[in-house]
Amino acid sequence: MTNAAKNTEIEVNSKITDKLLINEFVVRFANTNGTGSASANNMFAKAILRMGIPVSAKNIFPSNIQGMPTWYEVRISEKNYLGRRGGKSEIIVAMNAQSIDDDIMSVQTGGYLLYDSSRALLDSQIRADINYLGIPISNICLKEYSDPRQRQLFKNVIYVGALAAMLSMDFTLLKGLVRDQFKGKEKLITPNIYALELGYQFANEHFICPLDIRVESRDLVSNRILVDGNTATGLGAVYGGATIVGWYPITPSTSVIEKFASYCQRLRIDPASGKKNYAIVQVEDELAAIGVAIGAGWNGARAFTATSGPGVSLMTEFLGLAYFTEIPMVLVNVQRSGPSTGMPTRTQQSDVLACAYASHGDTKQILLFPDSPGECFEITAQAFDIADQLQTPVIIMSDLDLGMNDHLSEELVWQDSREYQKGKVLSAEQLDEVEVFGRYLDVDDDGICYRTLPGTHPDKGAYFNRGTSRNHFAGYTEKSADYVDNMERLTKKFSTAIHFLPAPEITQSKQTAQLGLIFFGTSSHPITEAIDHLKEHGLTTDTLRIRAFPFHQNIEDFIEEHSLSNKQVFVIEQNRDAQMKSLLVNELQIDPNKLASILSFDGLPVTSQFIVEAILGKLAQRQINKKTG
């Protein structure tokens, strides 16, 4: 095969399967960041969605603004496998000369490489076992457009058009998407559709379209939506009644606030005055950001902030203050790969311990673990209730994958009958009735005391809120008994907390399965697929998805049930140090040997392949140990 041949006509070297591969494959786009590829790639994913086929997308981008390699991985799966699969991709769109060598290597045998053939490939770039689809995209753009920015931008649209032909996508639907996307900027619609058609026609003219890998319309999406978690979180905060935000930009949490702000601009303007029913301050750093939330929480408004990595560390002192003074507020932690600056644009679940025990001294924080945009919305709204009811910070543990990637999710749900739960806040009337008011009096014996807000009552209920030891009446004390009493009450409050927190999601077979898988957040995405593969290996699996810390009793039960002799519990997490396992062991007093860890911490969302291999490996190891031991 010569380069010339590759440029014009496809020559099928190898096939993935003898049959057609329909609706079950991965397309990976390799681009340079800052060239506008993400929106074209997203258009591709959304077109699949509108064809009724389950789809998910991972944007793998650098910590840099322009000119570095970036990838966008679209998984199409009518089996509803929405996590990453692992392994090589069926189709790679290789638009970045920097990374093309690696990209060529990551095409699956029998798969396709769509590349810009304006420049010939090197001999070393030719693999005999894959198929090359060369389109002279740069040359086409050079001919079609004069503006350099357009020459750049439309490259991306052209390959989407070509893919439409190759994969037999609904072209009308794609055009509809362009119209939706540029609503309000009508001038852009025609040139975009034109670019789509350039690609579409080129592919149809030069290749046998569609390929043996292709899509077919289905009705498998039902009312699900494709959205990123940060958008849903921002919206959840609007619905949850948050009015005040202090924040400081940091990837990957920034868009939580940006989305909150843009929804507020639409949904939170006072109809009478046209004024804002919210206040967002971009402050000087993360210490100030959480300070704002705490000040507002003290004063009775629902407030939150969002941050990542280094921001969490910087908020540590204030988290301790809020825990000890019992001030409600919500912190959204969109985790990224640590330690330190780490890999700011890679995902991880590695702040579990840093958040659970945030701050010096004996502190414990409430954590919530959403796993989908739908749940981000729900849990964020709920977090404000929980914080108010428990009078303590609530940390929502999202991550870059959940926050910034588009996930196929149940739609967002709000019951209009639902009422904000503001917890134990005394009104002026209630204060009048109360005989003695003590801010830290455990009246209900649940560890949660009654609080008052500034300005409520002319004479009663005022107290001096402080991070120092205090007695029941918020008076400063260094008396050991007072101190211990207060600390033990806080422990009691933490037990009470469990009743307010979302319970774990458990799937359990009739007869307890051989394997118990425990996971949380985005680690749940590849689970369905992993379970199916484990079944192929004759292994049955029960699962438990943790949704909150402190832990519900049934987590302990699940572990007990699944750690009998011929069973095994695995804890899947995306960090090096098995942080969730540590938390389970500590807080539930569980023998750590009952829990085997599956740890994926390379910064990319964990794959089903990784999970299955790790589980099989550990089970095999156990077999060996049994035999030899």
Binding site: G246, D270, K276, G291, G295, E419, R466
Partner: protein, 350 residues
């Protein structure tokens, strides 16, 4: 400090417009050292609030950490207070104020709290033009940790332990002026006659009001050689203008000698009457104020009084265009867009 507080009340203590006596503005018993300047600030605040007939419960007291930051516990018992963490009061004040713009925010900080650990927060809350009274009890040392030099200590002075202040000192008034504060003053805890009207004006001012109050630490910085001792301050204090504060309701009766006296009308209609003692005094010129402050400092003097006032300044909420109804009073009706709106939003994700 005495640890048993007399509960005796004089039957004929003067009452203000709310029918409250001075006692109604007091707080817990001070645990500061006997003679600490901060206690005098406390009593000036009590007097100012009483004279202004401020409803104590309509005040929110804020502070960081330090002897000075304990002070809010010693005034206005009926007001909620928030003793936050060291140097971070400004952010807490921001959140509190954003939540409820109807309260009066009285904040107390120290020079360690605001010029060292909290300098970043200080600078940014000034920029933000938060409607608050920000007082720094400036004693040139860290009282609570036993006398280390603060960043406001004059270069070249020694603390009680004999450590020399080696670096350029930070003048928080100059910084506040530079960063856009709309009310900037300096006073002395030992000079109630000057301090009380300044406090009253600051409380009546809408926008960010900063008062640096020289407040001697009798235990760690009252030795000879200190420039924050009672003796030194008494000997070196100068004032650019004497201010008097006339609340909105009172009629102005005293005559006004145009050249030497000026009336500035504050946003709530109250009047700040300024009697110039120095000819070049001009409280509407921030740059000039900085020059004046530094000129006096070079001469070894401490210039006090009102430095700058922008009576029509905006505060954060005006700039932000926040609803007049305090955000913490909004109910679910106005906060939650409801399920119908959500249907449309869900559609945008398909």
């Amino acid at each position: 400090m005495s640890f048993i507080k007399s509960t005796f009340r004089h039957p004929r203590l003067p009452v203000n417009d709310l029918g409250l006596t001075y006692r109604d503005y007091e707080g817990a018993l001070s645990t500061l050292c006997a003679g600490c300047g901060h206690d005098s600030i406390t009593s000036a605040i009590i007097q100012a609030c009483h004279e202004l007939s401020i409803q104590p419960s309509e005040v929110a007291k804020l502070s960081g950490i330090g002897c000075s930051s304990k002070a809010p516990n010693y005034f206005l018992n009926k007001a909620h207070g928030f003793n936050s963490v060291h140097g971070r009061m400004p952010s807490v004040a921001t959140g509190a104020n954003l939540a409820n713009q109807d309260l009066l925010y009285l904040a107390m900080s120290g020079d360690g709290d605001s010029a060292s650990i909290g300098f970043g927060q200080f600078a940014h809350v000034v920029r933000r033009q938060l409607n608050m009274v920000y007082m720094v009890a400036n004693n040139g040392v860290y009282g609570l940790t036993k006398g280390q030099l603060a960043a406001t200590a004059d270069k070249g002075v020694k603390n009680k332990a004999g450590d020399l202040s080696l670096f350029t000192d930070i003048d928080l008034c100059v910084m506040a002026l530079q960063l856009g504060a709309s009310f900037v003053a300096r006073s002395f805890s030992g000079d109630k006659q000057q301090l009380v009207p300044l406090l009253k004006a600051a409380m009546s001012h809408k926008g960010f009001a900063f008062i640096d109050i020289v407040s001697p630490c009798v235990t760690f910085n009252n030795h000879s050689g200190s420039t924050r001792s009672y003796d030194y301050v008494h000997d070196h204090i100068t004032t650019a203008a004497v201010t008097d504060f006339v609340p909105v309701k009172k009629e102005i009766t005293s005559s006004c000698d145009s050249g030497e006296s000026e009336d500035v009308c504050l946003h709530d209609g109250s009047i700040m009457r300024i009697k110039k003692l120095q000819t070049d005094y001009d409280c509407s010129n921030a740059s000039q104020a900085i020059v004046d402050i530094e000129k006096h400092k070079k001469a070894g003097d401490i210039l006090t009084g009102l430095f700058y006032l922008e009576p029509t300044a905006s505060d954060f909420h005006e700039i932000n265009d926040t609803n007049d109804m305090p955000l913490n009073k909004l109910t679910q009706d106005s906060l939650c867009p409801g399920s119908r709106v959500l249907t449309g939003i869900n559609d945008s994700f398909r």
